[in-house]
Point group: none
Chain length 400, copies 2
Amino acid sequence: MAKALFVVMDGLGDRGAETPLSKAKTPNLDKITPNCSLGLLYTLGAGQIPGSDTAHLALFGYNPHKYYRGRGPFEALGAGMELKHGDVAFRANLCTIDDNMVILDRRAGRADYGMDKIYATLDGMKIDDVTVHVLHTVEHRGAIVFSGPGLSASVTNTDPHEANQPVAQAKALDSGAEKMAKVMNEFTKKAYELLKDHPVNKERIEKGLKPANMAVIRGAGVFEKIDSLKDRFGLKAICIAGGALYKGVAKYVGMDVINVPGATGTTKTDLNAKAQAVIKAADDYDLVFAHIKGTDSCGHDGDFEGKMKMIERADAEFFSQVIDKFDVFVLTGDHSTPVAAKRHTCDAAPILFRNETARPDGAKKFTELNCAGGSLGQLTGTELMHFILDYLHKGHMFGE
Amino acid sequence: MAKALFVVMDGLGDRGAETPLSKAKTPNLDKITPNCSLGLLYTLGAGQIPGSDTAHLALFGYNPHKYYRGRGPFEALGAGMELKHGDVAFRANLCTIDDNMVILDRRAGRADYGMDKIYATLDGMKIDDVTVHVLHTVEHRGAIVFSGPGLSASVTNTDPHEANQPVAQAKALDSGAEKMAKVMNEFTKKAYELLKDHPVNKERIEKGLKPANMAVIRGAGVFEKIDSLKDRFGLKAICIAGGALYKGVAKYVGMDVINVPGATGTTKTDLNAKAQAVIKAADDYDLVFAHIKGTDSCGHDGDFEGKMKMIERADAEFFSQVIDKFDVFVLTGDHSTPVAAKRHTCDAAPILFRNETARPDGAKKFTELNCAGGSLGQLTGTELMHFILDYLHKGHMFGE
């Protein structure tokens, strides 16, 4: 049975004649590149700037214009929470507010001392017939899920996205969302009562830390149970990632998700541990999806050298071990995060596709410029997944 | 603040190994080309033959399948008329008919003597609760706008498109358009009464010219007020063009439009005057759109030499002055008008995209063949506009 390894190096694409990818020393990729098909990835379509969540939905074969319902559910799933059809999920920040509910620090100084306990205090809250579940993730961050009848994601955030602003009142964006907005504002009130004199906050203040005395929320999304990759394509797939978001999108589409110790979703992630997990997963899955985040973080920081080193480390510690274990090997980015732009851009991401029967473009090195005019042409995210499915003998012919 | 210059040379693309573009001496473009990204433009999608109006809607970021409502409103706006939401506009021809309403000459011999006065005679006509506004443009041509309740563009033309045919009866294409058809046929009758013994026509006959004794109309389109480029993208844009149609489409999408003396929309247009207008506009606008028509006219005439010379003149008199005044410079055609075909074809137009951070394809010359395999891949018109928006930092990320 054919097996595929699908690796996304987040934000891999860059701009300019010399890019982190073109300058990186990648002897392991170089060895296979001449026998690979190259191409350009416009993940959501040319001219579109992909968010991380919509990009991964597309890469997993799910048209985000149909399936995207906001970021919250991916964060909650990625944190390990269970969601029911109709639940509305958000991202949460613990922050520091004053007595007038004005935010002094959106991240309560980022110090995570006791934040798990503070989030736990909010967990299980009841607001009329709605139950609130909350889970701490990293630093000041968490995920929050509202569960009950008649909820909606058509609401504004309580997180004003900047300091020196009061905690925002949630507003319904349509009349069906009025209950949701009311519940959110009730949550703000109850959180204030529970957190203002919370013993952990007394400890934080004693330690010279800012109190984490409010939880503001953003990124509403309703969780809908959708057909899985198994349902749609008979594909048994697993996700190996450090970042919670990618695990969350993977769960949303029905992939299995494992937690690899040392896989942190940062530039310091343990790539050897991820490689070992990938090799192990090859026994049981048709498709192993592996996500490497560090390239994107360096792009956002404008760090050419760091992005290049991350690619070099991936080549030495990860690709060196995994490529030859799979019949199909695909490497791309979910979008470009050029160091000159320090943000996601619409520039195409490069695609490298290896299969022993595929069309070999003969390129000496996997670079953005060599991918232009490659034999894959240009693909969107969902198209690339269908390409992979075909090479796994899991595509569907349209017509006879 | 980043600024973009977006130049369309109308019908620029051509066919064959040697094209007007590949043979033209263009030292100013040649200087920047190696550092540019190249690509192919399928303005409305591959395999589609773009009209000038739909092509420009797409290039301005407006999907013509959603926004195109017929050519009339663009002609009327381009002529300088004001339109209200719901007005129905047409292109008009003054023609010569006999006593049986048979058209002897569709253009009344093209001689425009007194045609402005004849059109003015028709202007302000009342037909029940409908007011008719008419404006002369060039030669025998004009624009006509019907304003009143219950009008529709689902009608056939009164212009039979060939001589020796009677003026056509307008017919409703659906039951909602019956009033419109009736008004149009009433217009034909009233125009006949007003023009058959018109003093200007007596003068024309005395001068040996054909009488302009009927106005036939075509290209019905309803004017709808749509979200402008400013509304949609926060983009302050200006159009510098000679041809009325392009100004009309630009106005439709909310661009400012200026009239540059000497910009005629012909091969004799004053490109230096246009360059000066472009440079001046750079101070106040995010996007300067400039249109050069002559290449298309030469394509329609099958004039290889003329098309090539037009490109050479644009390089020497226009590009030489403007390119380095903008952060983003884009040059393309709205479609191909190959001299071998003498009409618009579906062949991709070449795209040249310059920004100091963009991917440099290293091509020595901007040609159709070098654009194949360029790092932009292939884009549609709306995709190209979104690409430009991203480089102006005015793109919207989908998702987070």
